[in-house]
């Protein structure tokens, strides 16, 4: 088990890379660090590896501080985003290096190089030098060199970020299976929502050096702590409509600036909502929680189709409602034109509600929407 205790990292005077991070990496878990570029993901990995020293705070392994333990004594296997391969060694020698350095016998080295290079689809490249490889091939060698040996912790910095979509799909599954087989402790960074949800036992959402939320994929997806996590986890991102609350008969209705009803919840479900003037209240929807309704549906909101994105298996219509835009998943065969007015049905009792970007409630989706 690894623990970051109030880890703060500043570069120079002004640039804060990590802000007082408290984070536990459990034994044998696959922990994904998910955030936009510049969030501090690589810094966090480098601190776990011992390559970077935190400005303040502590890093513990099984309860003991390892701040003074140099990287080579930490038993962390790392795949760097910029590969850092040995250019004078062949692919096979690069892969074998961490094993030979640990005095593992030749037969076993050969066996493991064969297995890992097979999994990563680089078996035919073993004799080549890194200089003669494509970026995607180099990245697979870097990943292979990290996962080829047993290690206390695997630190993988966007290890599939430069692979094309088909390969990423394939290797993602292999990596998940391998981590399970080895009962490995893995920390993996990414900027892809899909990768974070697919791989993580838990996901830490990092933004501008701050830990926004740490939880299981289902927590982040269904119960995001704030509007940032809500809009960052899920593909397509969650959309929001600005609303005002209206209380009556033990319920709170949420209506748009034009007075159109968007959602209605029991008052006790939104007891955390305070009605201070000037606070920003938003209802959030995932694209598959709303649908195009019949024109006759009296509960539906009218909007204008601004953009249609075809994804092959379905389309996403971006519908403008007042000053907001809502993503709506529609079946592939639907004929829908830009500029068309459509009715949008909302799951009135199944919404994500945010006040000043903080989550107030996540009502459970009901059937029939």
């Amino acid at each position: 088990m690894y623990e970051l205790k109030s880890v703060h990292k500043r570069y120079g005077l002004a640039k804060v890379a990590l802000r007082k991070i408290d984070l536990t990496v459990r034994d044998r878990e696959f922990l994904v660090i998910y955030g936009p570029a510049g969030a501090g993901k690589s810094t966090l990995l480098n601190i776990l590896a011992g390559i970077t020293k935190p400005t303040s705070g502590d890093v513990l392994r099984n309860g003991v501080s390892i701040l003074r333990v140099p990287p080579e004594k930490r038993d962390a296997a790392m795949a760097f985003e910029n590969y850092a391969l040995y250019s004078h060694l062949s692919v096979g020698e690069n892969l074998a290096f961490p094993l030979k350095a640990r005095g593992i016998g030749r037969a076993e080295v050969e066996e493991r190089v064969k297995r890992i290079s097979g999994i990563l689809g680089i078996g035919h490249l073993l004799d080549r030098r890194p200089g003669f490889l494509s970026g995607g091939q180099r990245q697979r060698v870097a990943l292979g060199r990290a996962i080829i040996r047993p290690a206390d912790i695997y630190l993988l910095d966007e290890p599939v970020g430069h692979l094309d979509a088909k390969l990423r799909h394939k290797i993602r599954a292999e990596l998940k299976a391998l981590a399970e087989d080895l009962s490995a402790t893995v920390v993996f960074t990414t900027t892809s929502s899909r990768e974070a949800l697919a791989l993580g036992d838990r996901v830490a959402v990092l933004n501008a050096g701050k830990l926004e939320q740490l939880g299981k994929p289902a927590d982040l997806y269904h119960r995001p702590a704030n509007a940032f996590v809500a809009s960052f986890v899920g593909d397509p991102p969650m959309s929001f409509i600005s609303v005002q609350p209206r209380r009556h008969d033990g319920r709170v209705d949420f209506v748009t600036a034009d007075g159109m009803p968007v959602a209605s919840l029991a008052a006790e479900a939104v007891s955390d909502l305070n009605e201070e003037v000037g606070s920003k209240i938003q209802v959030g929807f995932r694209s598959n929680e709303v649908r195009i309704a019949q024109e006759s549906d009296s509960n539906a909101l009218r909007g204008r189709v601004d953009v249609i994105e075809n994804l092959g298996y379905m389309k996403i219509a971006l519908v403008g409602i007042g000053n907001d835009q809502v993503s709506v998943s529609v079946p592939a065969g639907t004929s829908l034109g830009v500029g068309e007015t459509v009715a949008i049905a909302f799951p009135r009792d199944a919404v994500h509600l945010f006040q000043n970007a903080r989550a107030v409630t996540h009502a459970t989706p009901s059937a029939g929407v």
């Binding site: 094309d164 979509a165 088909k166 791989l199 995932r286 830009v338």
Partner: protein
């Protein structure tokens, strides 16, 4: 605005032929994505349209006028990479005005045009600032505004949104799409990302090995790919391929896979006849199911399940073939579990086995 036509367009670099004599037409105001892996010839094609590369053989026409010998700067083509070089010492207003000042447009007209485009690009509040301190998204919009203020006839974008996170990707994509809707430029978008191509373009031109594999609307490219390359390159999660035996049966045709036999629907009879014995079948992950009652049902073993929350991706091994299927989030089979997999015959695609090499080249 302009229509574009290419005739038997060839690009050779020394002995290497990058583009193998391709023909295409792009209508005035159309949004076309050129999609393919690295080295497929897409960038060479775009650079010939821009005038940044000479045409080795064949012709390019803008509005019916041959432009092979027209210099890049006289073609009135805007390119997205112009966005990366803003002048840091002058305001954003002056950055956008720059191409108009160079063209000696009078200052009243410049003011009108700069303010007009700034409003469309949501830059009005930033006009008095200098570029320093802009976010990368804002800087990109300023660059685009500067490219667009010239009123180009053709707008070329070369992978402008790679390496963005999921949220930024959607934002940029929707912004580019709305640009096209607002200005109606003839737009050509070069990318290796099939999702961007399908989501953005009126038509997609799929390229591989310097040739056009298919050029059609997104639905067509997705549902009726012309060959195994297009089938494999388009679609996320990727399509599943499996080797099968094609045989005549009962006046129709059937395929055999893993000891099971499936009578092919009528629409595949002609393809089956052409293919003969060795077939390469393909089915999208959305048209496979665990259980189900398809006439083509095979025995599989679960490799891994990815729970994406809105759906589950289940990897299932059937013999030597690993399938991906998309399932409802409630379907969560265990690793190693034996499961029956149904293949929906209505969405089955069939190609000759000889195209298997094209599939391999996708992930080379």
């Amino acid at each position: 605005m302009a229509s574009i036509k290419a005739e038997r367009l060839v690009k050779r670099y020394g002995a290497v032929q990058a583009v193998h004599g391709i023909d295409f037409e792009i209508a005035d105001g159309e949004f076309v994505a050129i999609l393919g892996p690295s080295g497929c010839g897409k960038s060479s094609t775009m650079r010939m349209i821009a005038g940044l590369e000479t045409v080795t053989e064949g012709s390019i026409y803008f509005d019916g006028k041959r432009v092979n010998d027209v210099r890049a700067r006289d073609r009135n083509v805007a390119m997205s990479f112009e966005s990366y070089a803003l002048y840091t010492t002058i305001s954003i207003y002056e950055n956008i005005a720059f191409p108009l000042r160079s063209a000696n447009v009078d200052s009243k007209e410049i003011d009108r045009q700069v303010r007009d485009i700034a409003e469309k690009m949501e830059l009005t509040a930033l006009l008095h600032l200098k570029p320093k301190g802009l976010s990368s998204g804002q800087a990109q919009r300023v660059g685009l505004a500067r490219a667009l203020v010239r009123k180009p006839e053709v707008f070329l974008l070369d992978e402008p949104i790679s390496h963005l996170d999921t949220r930024q990707r959607y934002r940029m994509r929707r912004f580019i799409k709305s640009l096209h809707q607002k200005f109606n430029y003839t737009m050509i978008y070069v990318t290796h990302d099939q999702e961007e191509a399908l989501a953005l373009a009126d038509r997609v031109m799929v390229m591989s090995d310097g040739e056009i594999q298919q050029m059609a609307v997104p639905d067509e490219v997705y549902a009726r790919p012309k060959n195994a390359f297009v089938a494999g390159f388009v679609g996320e999660p990727p399509i599943n391929f499996f080797d099968c035996r094609v045989a005549a049966a009962d006046g129709g045709w059937s395929i055999e896979f893993e000891g099971r036999k499936l009578a092919l629907p009528q629409r595949l009879h002609a393809a089956a006849q052409d293919i003969g014995d060795g077939g390469l079948a393909a089915i999208r992950p959305h048209f496979l199911s665990i259980g189900g009652d398809s006439p083509l049902r095979v025995d599989g073993k679960v490799f891994i399940t990815e729970e994406l929350q809105d759906q589950n991706l289940i990897f299932v091994d059937v013999g030597e073939t690993r399938f991906t299927l998309v399932a409802h989030p409630s379907v969560t089979p265990k690793r190693g579990e034996a499961v029956p997999v149904s293949i929906d015959p209505d969405h089955l695609l069939l190609f000759p086995r000889s195209q298997a090499g094209k599939v391999e080249s996708i992930v080379a």
